[in-house]
């Protein structure tokens, strides 16, 4: 049983939270798709330099953004990385990093295909 990349009920909830304006929602959607690769880049640089704070903040942001857009798996992967940073060690985060990179592509592809009108 494969988990859905994006839980669309979360998108409906988000639309509800911002008051139902679909233009604004579309902008948020575009913003997510545009920011996610930047966050991945921040995480990569952070891990490469063993910069725990930088990695942690980027992972934290990716986590909360992904939750808002229903990217549950990506959110939990990000949370795992955030926890590792909090625990003070980046050892063995290579697999998580790779999984995050793969999942981000899937999420962005999925979200990129969604139009605000369809939510």
């Amino acid at each position: 049983m494969t988990e859905a990349v994006v839980d669309t009920s979360s998108l409906r909830k988000l639309l509800d939270v911002i008051g139902g304006d679909r233009d604004e929602f579309q902008e948020l959607l575009d913003e997510y798709v545009a920011t996610a690769p930047e966050l991945i880049e921040s995480i990569r640089v952070g891990v490469a330099n063993a910069d725990l704070d930088k990695t942690r903040i980027a992972a934290h942001t990716l986590k909360s953004n992904s939750r808002d857009f229903g990217a549950t798996k990506l959110a939990s992967l990000s949370e795992e990385l955030e926890h590792a940073c909090k625990a003070g060690s980046l050892d063995g985060t290579g697999t998580i990093l790779a999984a995050i990179a793969t999942e981000v592509v899937a999420v962005c592809t999925r979200l990129g295909g969604i139009k605000a009108e369809d939510v």
């Binding site: 939270v17 911002i18 008051g19 304006d21 902008e27 903040i57 909360s64 953004n65 939510v119």
Partner: protein
């Protein structure tokens, strides 16, 4: 298609839209929060880091802050700490926004630091509305409470001003408070009314006391001053000359006053400015007045001269009107006229004012009241306030004695005093003491009641001169002298002493025992 359910929240009735500051480093979160807040009917501004948030809070008044905790550089805890230590910001409620699942510790810490509430990152709009609403209600209540306490404070301050002593109705500053239509406003209005009544009563009393003190001083100055002509006439009867007499009288006066100042340990160290003041005063009062008197008495009838001297009041009044040194109104001018009528009446009854005095000399003798007026104005406006009154008069008298010595020697009028103590020596000492006493009183009068009021002592002096003449030289007293005296009193009442601020000082305490 999803139709957003009842997402347009209405602001609770009676509540105005609030200004909310959203602080988050993530652009997506900022936008989400801003839109969510706006959707609840409030205004939202955003700040992308802690420093920007503090800048915004100090630039504009906000009703609540939605604060993200995890931010680079300056995190939510730092912002919270800054807000809670700044008296101007500390009452703004802060709601921390947190992914509750793994940040319970952070939320607890934030609440310990003074956060009002917390909100999970993936909040429901209903929850946001409830939490924001609760915080805003508390904030409004707190604002009202603060405003109320500020008003109570203001009323307490007014009570303290009243009790601490000196006050005017304006210094209580209660008008704003008393205009409010609530119990505190009514209390302020009642307090203000009672304070105003106390003020009016005390001010009337203060003015009456001031008036009485001034009038007694005028009469005292006139009485001592008026003694001089009689003493001078007694002295000239036993072979003294006016200039030689003046040197000794001024010397005695100077020594007498400086002696008192020395006894009171009030001898000053003079600065150049003060020396200049005393030199000018000595020239005006000790030399010019004296010489002008000698000069014109040879040509002008004594009674006419007495009348002319009283014109100084009008001269001082004219100067006061022109310069704004003192209040100059028709009532005060009328008072001066009433006094003049009194003096003129008594002089007219005793002397033939139409006697053969040269008109030119009348004009010259106007110099005398002018010199008195200049002296009064000079003392009222230029006197060094910190120098003791005895020392002041003593210094001036001594200086004028020195100034008169060369002239006296040149005129051959110098009178060597005898070693044996005789009638003339006694008279000189008496004149010295009388002269300095009248000057001391006049000085005090000018400084407390102003130059215009003080100038009326010329009237008192003329009438007193006549009364002393009767007592010491067996001259006959006209009944009109008493009428004149009454008229002068009416004049004093009309002129009113100047000065005296309109502050009232209460010498009683209502709440605490006065220290013994």
């Amino acid at each position: 298609m999803f139709e957003p359910s009842e997402s347009n929240f209405q602001i609770a009735e009676g509540a105005r839209p609030a200004a909310i500051l959203v602080v988050d480093d993530s652009a997506i979160n900022r936008t989400k929060m801003r839109l969510a807040v706006r959707n609840l009917g409030h205004e939202a501004d955003v700040a992308e880091n802690g420093q920007a948030a503090l800048n915004a809070l100090r630039a504009k008044s906000y009703d609540a802050v939605l604060l993200d905790i995890m931010m680079p550089v300056m995190d939510g805890f730092d912002v919270l700490r800054e807000i809670k230590t700044d008296p101007a910001l500390r009452d703004i409620p802060v709601i921390v926004v947190s992914a509750l699942d793994d940040e319970t510790e952070s939320v607890v810490r934030a609440i310990e630091l003074g956060a009002e509430d917390f909100l999970p990152k993936n909040f429901d709009p209903v929850l946001l509305n409830a939490r924001l609403g609760a915080s805003l209600t508390k904030k409004r209540f707190r604002d009202q409470e603060k405003e109320y306490f500020a008003r109570v404070n203001k009323l307490t301050e007014a009570a303290e001003i009243l009790e601490s002593g000196a006050f005017t109705p304006q210094s209580l500053a209660l008008d704003d408070l008393a205009s409010r239509n609530d119990p505190l406003g009514h209390l302020a209005a009642v307090f203000r009314g009672m304070a105003a009544e106390i003020y009016d009563r005390e001010l009337r009393l203060k003015r009456a006391v001031h008036m009485l003190q001034g009038s007694l001083l005028v009469i005292a100055v006139g009485a001592t001053w008026g003694l001089t002509p009689s003493l001078a006439r007694m002295a000239s009867g036993i072979g003294s000359n006016p200039l030689g007499l003046a040197v000794w009288v001024n010397t005695i006066s100077g020594l007498f006053c400086l002696g008192i100042a020395a006894y009171r340990k009030k001898l000053p160290r003079l600065k150049w400015r003060e020396i200049r003041f005393f030199l000018i005063w000595a020239v005006i009062a000790g030399v010019m007045q004296r010489l002008t008197t000698f000069w014109v008495t040879e040509h002008v009838e004594a009674a006419v001269l007495s009348l002319i001297v009283t014109l100084q009041g009008f001269m001082v009044f004219g100067y006061a009107a022109a310069s704004g040194l003192e209040k100059a109104n028709p009532r005060r001018l009328l008072g001066l006229f009433v006094g003049l009528v009194g003096v003129a009446a008594v002089l007219y009854s005793r002397f033939d004012l139409k006697s053969s005095t040269d008109g030119l000399w009348i004009g010259v003798s106007m110099l005398l009241p002018l010199l008195f007026a200049i002296e009064a104005i000079f003392l009222a406006s230029k006197r060094p306030k910190e120098i003791d009154i005895f020392a002041s008069v003593g210094i001036m008298m001594s200086m004028s004695a020195f100034m008169l010595i060369p002239l006296t020697l040149w005129q051959g009028d110098f009178m060597p005093l005898r070693v044996h103590f005789g009638k003339i020596e006694l008279l000189i000492i008496l004149m010295g003491v009388v002269g300095s006493t009248s000057l001391l009183l006049a000085f005090r009068l000018i400084t407390t009641a102003g130059a215009v009021f003080a100038s009326q002592s010329a009237y008192a002096m003329t009438v007193a001169g006549i009364i002393w003449g009767m007592l010491l030289l067996d001259e006959q007293l006209s009944a009109l002298a008493w009428v004149a005296f009454a008229l002068i009193c009416v004049g004093l009442y009309l002129v009113e002493p100047a000065g005296g601020d309109d502050r009232v000082i209460l010498n009683r305490s209502f709440s605490r025992k006065r220290s013994a």
